[in-house]
Symmetry: C2
Subunit: 340 residues, 2 copies
């Protein structure tokens, strides 16, 4: 099958008509409509084989899902709704048509469930590695956008879902060295690493109700991402260990794979949960909408003055010394990636 | 210098405040404003070292310029104005900070001259090759957008600038095998290959005056790009050889480097000129605005019925048999790249 055949497969699989797409893929550029009064959100991310993913650990389908999901997560973290995406693929000769088909199915399933449409693409021959670049465009009412730089002293800190599952899932994959050798009981954790769910409806509800003063998605780990909020808002934070939301699976199995599960939950990356700060006066409103949020929300700490930095505390007030080493999300070179 | 230092350099160099950028780079996503009544144009392109460029032939500065320019050219070909761009870089260890600085300067100079602003980025460690992905966002009034699918029989075919210079420039670079060995007299041709100028103001004027029925930028070569218009518009075309616009340098030197200069001008890629079709009734209007266009415009052919296909003719009506082989823009694997 020629390259053009492959492109036609990708295009026909991903491209669906939509009222806001005036001219879809197939011209010099796509032409789309942005709703009046809304701001355009944009962000881009690259995944490189051997740097951000390992084809021994992920199926093509899951890789497709995750590639789009992590980008959508950035839009969710602004309180926006993903609308359009552009995808560039560098395809090495070793990949089969079936691989690309499955990868495309993964992309399609996430784009479909998040109602996001393709508005541009590029496929190139890549001599050695598979790489994926996705740019995502979202929309939000201008007043609803939630940035990282507006947390204030005494704001309360919340997080959706659980922490550390993705890092534990990755650790299990690396220990077993092969997906097929992973025991059934760990599948849930592996899934959290391979197929994160972007918290779009949660982010949108938080934005619409103006509940959060600052928000970010957890890609680098709770502490690292909290640092982004603290640095940009010029504040500090304290986190209460006993409040950290840990899944049953994490509580049950983490000690089999790490001596420091607390650090894994604090510093493990790629949970793609939302971390946000709430003005005390909005706490009642948050409690009111909690039942309609698809994901649980946990109160884990409080914003303090910048001079106090970020501290992690036990219930008795004792400081927990965080060990950050060893929980970078993909272990080889994660520190070399910066999105801006 | 750490990776964060590098990012800060790139960010500080590229990021300028702009009234339509509500929130610039540094958050989960950028937040921008799109003007009322305008459509959003989007397209993405990847350049991979050894596939689309060769670091022996281009300086970092020129590579930066070209990376952004070829994307902007796609927006120009829709009759739009480039507004924002997102850039992802995969940076191998062999590249120096100075290289990235110069590359960024090239990007900046084009973004500045085309009034295009950065709204997202990602830098990753890349184990072997340098690669660049740029997504560009443009704007156009909805009624002004010019697609590829609206050429009609009897429309006249025009092209901006000259044809074949870029292909000849590349041929010279490859023959000499090193930029420093290229003689001064060929510099103009090399420049056309390494630093193409996107025809933004020309495209905008053509769009604003509703002169063109279809338009495309010439990236794959005149014949290939004309094929895109013909296939999508369901028409054929004839091109008059004697009318092909050739630069003085091309006329003077092309025979030193190729036995088939006509084929080079017909099939050589990367001229990034605008190819467009005009309804006969708009010819007077076109002639009227020609003097205010920054670039010359040449009448090179006519749209015919689809069943006649695309033919290239001598003045006496004799058909010229086009030889397409050997003029792919970057020789190794060009046929493997498809933008959609």
């Amino acid at each position: 099958m020629g390259e053009f055949g492959l492109i036609e497969r990708i295009k026909s699989k991903l491209s669906l008509p939509h009222k806001d797409i005036i001219k879809g893929i197939g011209d010099d550029a796509c032409v789309t409509d942005i709703q009046k009064g809304k701001a355009l959100l944009s962000t881009t991310d690259t995944l490189i084989e051997g740097v951000h993913f390992d084809l021994r650990f992920t199926s093509a389908y899951n890789l497709g899902k995750k590639s789009l999901a992590v980008n959508i997560s950035d839009i969710a973290a602004m309180g926006g709704v993903p609308r359009f995406f552009l995808i560039s693929l560098g395809i090495p000769p070793k990949l089969s048509v079936e691989f690309i088909d499955e990868f495309t199915s993964g992309i399609f399933d996430v784009s479909h469930s998040c109602q996001t449409h393709i508005v541009g693409g590029d496929t190139s021959f890549s001599p050695d590695r598979f790489f994926i670049n996705i740019t995502i465009l979202g929309e939000a009412f201008k007043g609803d956008v939630i940035c990282r730089d507006n947390a204030h002293v005494a704001d309360q800190i919340f997080v959706t879902g659980n922490l550390g599952d993705s890092a534990l899932g990755l650790k299990i994959l690396m220990d077993r060295n092969c997906t097929s050798k992973v025991e059934e009981i760990f599948k849930e954790l592996i899934e959290k690493h391979l197929c994160p769910t972007p918290r779009v409806s949660e982010g949108k509800l938080i934005a619409k109700n103006r509940i959060a003063t600052a928000m970010i998605d957890i890609s680098d780990g709770l502490i690292s991402d909290l640092e982004h909020i603290c640095n940009q808002s010029k504040v500090g934070a304290k986190i209460w260990i006993e409040n950290l939301p840990l899944s049953d699976a994490f509580q049950k199995y983490s000690l089999k794979f790490t001596d420091t599960p607390i650090d894994m939950s604090l510093c493990g990356g790629e949970d793609y949960e939302l971390l946000f700060t709430v003005d005390r006066r909005k706490m009642d409103l948050l409690r009111k909408i909690m039942p309609i949020l698809k994901t649980k929300v946990t109160h884990i700490g409080e914003i303090v003055e910048q001079k106090n930095g970020i501290t992690v505390l036990h219930r008795n007030g004792q400081v927990y010394p965080v060990k950050r080493k060893g929980f970078d999300h993909f272990p080889i070179t994660f520190k070399d990636q910066v999105s801006f």
